[in-house]
Amino acid sequence: MMKPLSRDALARMVALHLPNEGFVNLGIGAPTQVADYLPSGSGVMLHSENGVLNVGPKPPEGQEDWDLINAGKMPISLKRGGSYFDSSLSFAMMRGGHLDVAVLGAFQVSREGDLANWTTGDNGSPPGIGGAIDLAVGAKSIWVMMDHTTRDGRPRIVERCGYPLTARKVVTRIFTNLAILDVTDNGLVVDALLEDMRVAELQALTEAPLLALGKVRTIKQDGAVLA
């Protein structure tokens, strides 16, 4: 069997699925990397919760402006046609359903699309919620991007989330290093699977039951997906 997708390949796979000319928010952490793989000419406009629309790439070293950062507090640039605004307008965009897709990391996703991505409830460390919860409630489509299992091999796609919820029934699509799943009223449908992997193998790594209704597309090692 092929190796699971690398972080880069997973980011590329997500990037290739974003709708042309869509307004997209990339969550902090791994989703931020999706920006590096947007096809030129896709026209995707990236939103940053701290008040930036049409986010551009990281500036060259030495040219960082620490008044121009993303939600992960890293320096960014602004593309032509971009704009700045305050947080109240930024969250109105998010909560008000004005963004097409939010790509979020997650600890767990349930069969019904419940999302747990803000805390594992570990004691001691102060928890942080930030803006992920506003996105999860407001964006038209919520995509999760994560490893299919935990480091020690336990499923992250579960019947019911064990970790504290971010939002109920919001995730519409799950991109993992093994597969792409659609969250439907009937359950989790396998849209694409790593080349050479079988649905039964994926099921063994997934707590929630999977459906393979139609043709399952093939994920190549570089994150490209073949029909």
């Binding site: 939103h47 965009m93 909560r95 008000g96």
Partner: protein, 219 residues
């Protein structure tokens, strides 16, 4: 690349249907997208629910919609000096929901910002409290006001680029800025279209994510 520029006002109102809820920007003539007034008439739609600050007072504004009897209900704050509306109102052929101006704007903002409503101190102890839920918070009484949203929003901007970024001219911002956030389809009449990149990112008032169509008037 995204390009939201459409040919004319007719194209800007394409898809409007009988019974639709329509927001129209403007305070008096400032911010009023005059080009869409006749374009909507030309579509032959009726039974519209209109959300606007005023109800028309001249021969190139909402008065024309009342004359043509295509408005079933208006939600507004100040339908004075509105002769055509007043005639329909007296005849009982149009419904009026009178809303204090600040509450009107805030309800539109709530609609655009995904809120379920807000608690306002405005109207407590007056007829504007009639039929509304009262909520007491920390000893103060408020009215629960509900969001407004529209099928179409028509507003007037000053400059636009083809992505749909908008600036406004002076006091013509008024209700247009929040209305731009609260329509399923948002069409903006502007004075001039500029190249992408010409608008200073610091000075864009309505970012393009809110805007679906932009047009200039054929004068």
């Amino acid at each position: 690349m995204r390009n939201v520029i459409v040919r004319d006002a007719g194209a800007a109102v394409e898809g409007i249907k009988d019974g639709h809820t329509v927001m129209v920007g403007g305070f008096g003539g400032a911010g009023l997208p005059k080009g869409v007034i006749t374009a909507v008439l030309d579509k032959g739609v009726r039974d519209l629910v209109v959300i606007s600050n005023n109800a028309g007072s001249s021969d190139d504004d909402l008065s024309l919609w009342f004359s043509a009897k295509i408005v079933r209900k208006i939600i507004c704050s100040y339908p004075r000096s509105a002769q055509q509306f007043a005639e329909q109102y007296r005849a009982g052929t149009v419904e009026l929901e009178l809303v204090p101006q600040g509450t009107l704007v805030e309800r539109i903002r709530a609609g655009g910002a995904g809120l379920g409503g807000f608690l306002s101190p405005v109207g407590v102890g007056t007829v504007f409290a009639d039929g509304k839920e009262k909520v007491t918070v920390q000893g103060h009484e408020f009215l629960l006001e509900l969001p407004l949203h529209a099928d179409f929003t028509f507003i007037k901007g000053h400059l636009a680029d083809s992505l749909g970024n908008i600036t406004y001219n002076k006091s013509a911002r008024n209700h247009c800025v929040v209305m731009a956030t609260a329509g399923d389809t948002v069409a903006v009449e502007v004075d001039r279209i500029v190249e992408v990149g010409e608008l200073d990112p610091e000075n864009i008032v309505t970012p393009c994510v809110f805007v679906d169509r932009v047009f200039t008037r054929n004068l």
